[in-house]
């Protein structure tokens, strides 16, 4: 038993931390938050050069081929920013979809580019009837000769504005689960419009298809009906990495509150001397540690080849709630200062809400946890 990171992981952690500090300080993040993509070509290039955009992609496809835990170390540090941008969507969820579902040709065409940052994958699953169950995929792709024709809307798609290719879950058959196919849709394509959604959600978009033609070769893996299986397999591995991002976020918010508890003086003493302020922070730390260790155990199970589904659902349910609650606690500690945009806390508050439902909300994962336990 050894619950520490390896030396290589510690090294990676330090270099990501350095990168975030240098390239994504608060001022940059405050500016990026307002952009449609959440990133810049320079940032993409630098992260590609560091090998991080291909961290999960096997070396055979131009990636670094590292473990899930390694990728989690990277994303935990990014979460501290919190660094926005399509990195998780493209290099984790998107790359895993291609790895699990793509043909050899598609892997060779897409993955090296993803690792280089020249291709950015988006993943369009959810629709107006929002949900992460197969029944919620209703956008139909009609086969017409050597292409498909699509009309409809994908909604609340993360990072679609940054994507060069959208992996779209579409319906090619009536079977709730077996009727779903993943299509690789290039951006731009005639009839396809991607639009940022206004509000308190960051890089979340509407993707509208109006008589969009997609070649039949765009079917991920070349065979219809495998979409949901591929999505589930990829999500099982991607979720703990998203969880790690939130763990990093929670840690950053806790650190912010700790620092403020020491420097903010009211009633003649640092506010952290008041038990009420302490209790906000203690509750935050408890959420953080619950998120951290459920996430780490899920990663360990994935990397060691153990059945991981129950741990993954557990981690997702716990971390999504933890991030929201940790931000709430930080707002209690910071009061007025915390809601001033330039302070930076609200970057987290927003992401804690915007990531709450991504890949399934806590309630969904609680129910799936019961199923995974064989109950």
């Amino acid at each position: 038993m050894d619950l520490s990171l390896s030396d290589a992981q510690e090294l990676l952690k330090a270099s990501v931390a350095h990168f975030v500090q240098q390239e994504c300080p608060k001022e940059v993040l405050l500016a990026l938050e307002m952009t449609p993509t959440g990133t810049t070509p320079q940032l993409m290039r630098k992260m590609a050069e560091l090998g991080w955009l291909g961290i999960l992609i096997p070396e055979a496809y131009g990636g670094a081929g590292r473990s899930f835990t390694d990728a989690a170390v990277l994303f935990e540090e990014l979460g501290k920013g919190p660094v926005c941008g399509p990195y998780f969507t493209s290099s984790v969820l998107g790359a895993l979809l291609v790895l699990h579902g793509g043909s050899e040709e598609q892997k060779r065409a897409l993955l090296p580019q993803v690792a280089r940052g020249t291709c950015v994958l988006g993943v369009a699953v959810t629709e107006a009837d929002y949900g992460w169950q197969p029944q919620a995929v209703q956008l139909r792709a009609h086969r017409q000769g050597d292409h498909y024709r699509l009309s409809g809307v994908k909604l609340f798609v993360h990072d679609a504005q940054a994507a060069t290719h959208l992996l779209c879950a579409v319906r090619t058959g009536d079977d709730p689960r077996g009727g779903i196919t993943l299509l690789v849709v290039e951006v731009p394509t005639a009839g396809l419009t991607v639009r940022s959604l206004p509000g308190w959600m960051g890089q979340v978009d509407e993707v509208r298809f109006e008589q969009v033609q997609v070649p039949a070769t765009a079917v991920l893996g070349g065979v219809e009906g495998r979409g949901w299986d591929v999505l589930e397999a990829a999500a099982l591995q991607a979720i703990p990495i998203l969880c790690a991002y939130k763990v990093g976020s929670c840690q950053a918010v806790v650190d912010m509150a700790l620092a403020y508890s020491r420097t903010r003086v009211q009633f003649g003493q640092p506010i952290g001397r008041f038990q009420r302020v302490q209790d906000h922070i203690i509750a935050m730390v408890n959420h953080l540690d619950a998120a951290r260790w459920t996430t780490y155990e899920a990663l360990w199970k994935l990397d060691s080849g153990r059945p991981a589904a129950a741990s993954v659902h557990l981690a997702k349910a716990v971390t999504s709630e933890a991030y929201v609650k940790v931000c709430d606690g930080a707002h209690e500690v910071h009061a007025g200062v915390g809601v001033m945009r330039e302070y930076g806390l609200t970057l987290h508050t927003q992401r804690s809400r915007a990531l709450y439902h991504l890949l399934g909300d806590p309630r969904t994962h609680r129910r799936r946890l019961a199923d995974a336990l064989g109950w």
Binding site: V204, G338, R353, D361
Partner: protein, 410 residues
């Protein structure tokens, strides 16, 4: 016990009068933007105008003494007024004027007769809108630690300092604030309370960039500002309650800030959320028939009902002039915490729809998105949740044999 006004014939007649008057005087094109920061100047003007008309009848401050511009009405009549205004989604005053509500009460308790006759009528009849200026960068929860200074100079005071989280959209006519007049005196004995015309030279107002310009969802003040005082000369007559007596004056408006006046306003967001779930169909079935959504709705309903009842109880205590203790800060605490809880239940129930203002997709025209932010921002104004608990503990006498008294409201 009686949880409603039991209508006497006189009261029934009053209700009819109010209803008719409102039908004739509430502008039909009154709009309430989802985000109070979007209230247009024109719309604001209509609200001010309605306020002046109400004020002329004594209905803007119905329970205040008529000699100062109030209505001299009892709590039951005031409640009828609030109920009838509520049918229009309005309340008293029909625009953001916490400075007026809190300041008028303070002047009524602590001002000299001359000051009451000078300051109260324009406030109570809607001529003035008033901002309250309390927080400073170094004085948030610890309000008594304010640093803004006032120095006597002949028959004026000269004020210098900075106040934050101030005001609302479209300015004000008057401001009141708490300043240091004796830096040598002990805590709570060094402060004075001033009414300050907003147009005096040396006052500068700058907007702040916050998570939301609004407040607590449906009761929100709009934009907040930083206010700078640079050698602002205020006539000594504008000092209320006497020099170095400012903390005592503050206990009155703090009592109101801490919820001591009660709350009879409906929880608009909760109600509209419930209505939305009842009327919005998914796969041909109302959302309210989804067992999870239904449980969430019940949770929201219970939470808002508890706050409603605590608000009603406190309103009654205050307006019936009954002894009050911890009830104000309890209401304030529960309201703040409940709002955040309700926001998160709604987030859970309706998913990312709750986070967008997109005209095509946002439910209730973005009201829920605004509430997501407003519930977070609402944790601190008028005293953080922790401060409400500080006051509650003192009033309940936890660990103390002598219980702190509630602030005077009259």
């Amino acid at each position: 016990m009686d949880f409603e006004v039991t209508y006497t014939p006189e009261q029934e007649a009053f209700r009819a009068e109010v209803r008719a008057w409102l039908a004739a005087n509430v502008p039909p094109d009154l709009e309430e933007p989802v985000d109070p920061a979007h209230l247009s100047y024109e719309q604001y003007g209509k609200r001010r105008e309605l306020g002046r008309k109400l004020g002329a009848k004594g209905w803007l401050y119905p329970t205040y003494p008529p000699e100062y511009g109030g209505g001299g009405l009892s709590v039951d009549f005031a409640l009828i007024l609030e109920e009838e205004l509520d049918r229009y989604g309005l309340h008293l005053p029909p625009y953001y004027d916490s400075g007026g509500r809190l300041g008028a009460a303070s002047i009524l308790v602590w001002g000299s007769e001359e000051q009451k006759r000078y300051f109260l009528p324009p406030m109570l009849t809607g001529q003035w809108r008033t901002w309250q200026l309390l927080s400073e960068p170094g004085a948030g929860s610890d309000l008594a630690a304010v640093q803004t200074r006032a120095v006597r100079d002949g028959d004026h005071y000269v004020i210098n300092g900075q106040k934050i989280f101030i005001g609302s959209l479209h300015g004000c006519e008057m401001m009141w604030t708490l300043v240091v007049t004796d830096p040598e005196a002990p805590r709570h004995h060094n402060l004075s309370w001033f009414m300050i015309p907003a147009d005096l030279p040396g006052i500068e107002v700058r907007p702040m960039e916050l998570l939301t310009a609004g407040g607590e969802g449906g009761a929100s003040p709009g934009l907040k500002h930083t206010v700078f005082f640079d050698n602002v000369r205020v006539p000594a007559f504008h000092l209320i309650g006497g020099e170095n007596n400012g903390w005592k004056v503050a206990t009155t408006h703090l009592e109101l800030e801490h919820g001591g006046g009660g709350l009879i306003r409906r929880h608009r967001v909760a109600e509209r959320f419930l209505e939305y779930c009842l009327t919005t169909k998914r796969h041909g079935v109302p959302l309210s028939q989804d067992p999870d959504v239904r449980d969430d709705m019940v949770e929201v309903y219970i939470k808002k009902e508890i706050v409603r009842l605590l608000g009603l109880r406190t309103y009654w205590l205050s307006h019936a002039n009954r002894p009050r203790s911890y009830e104000g800060p309890q209401l304030s605490y529960c309201r703040k915490v409940t709002n955040l809880e309700i926001a998160e239940i709604i987030l859970r129930a309706l998913g990312p729809y709750t986070l967008t203002t997109d005209p095509a997709w946002a439910p209730l025209a973005g009201l829920l998105e605004h509430f997501q932010r407003a519930a977070v921002v609402g944790l601190h104004p008028g005293g953080t949740t922790d401060i409400q608990k500080v006051v509650m503990a003192r009033r309940l006498g936890i660990g103390r044999t002598v219980r702190e008294e509630a602030g005077r409201l009259r």
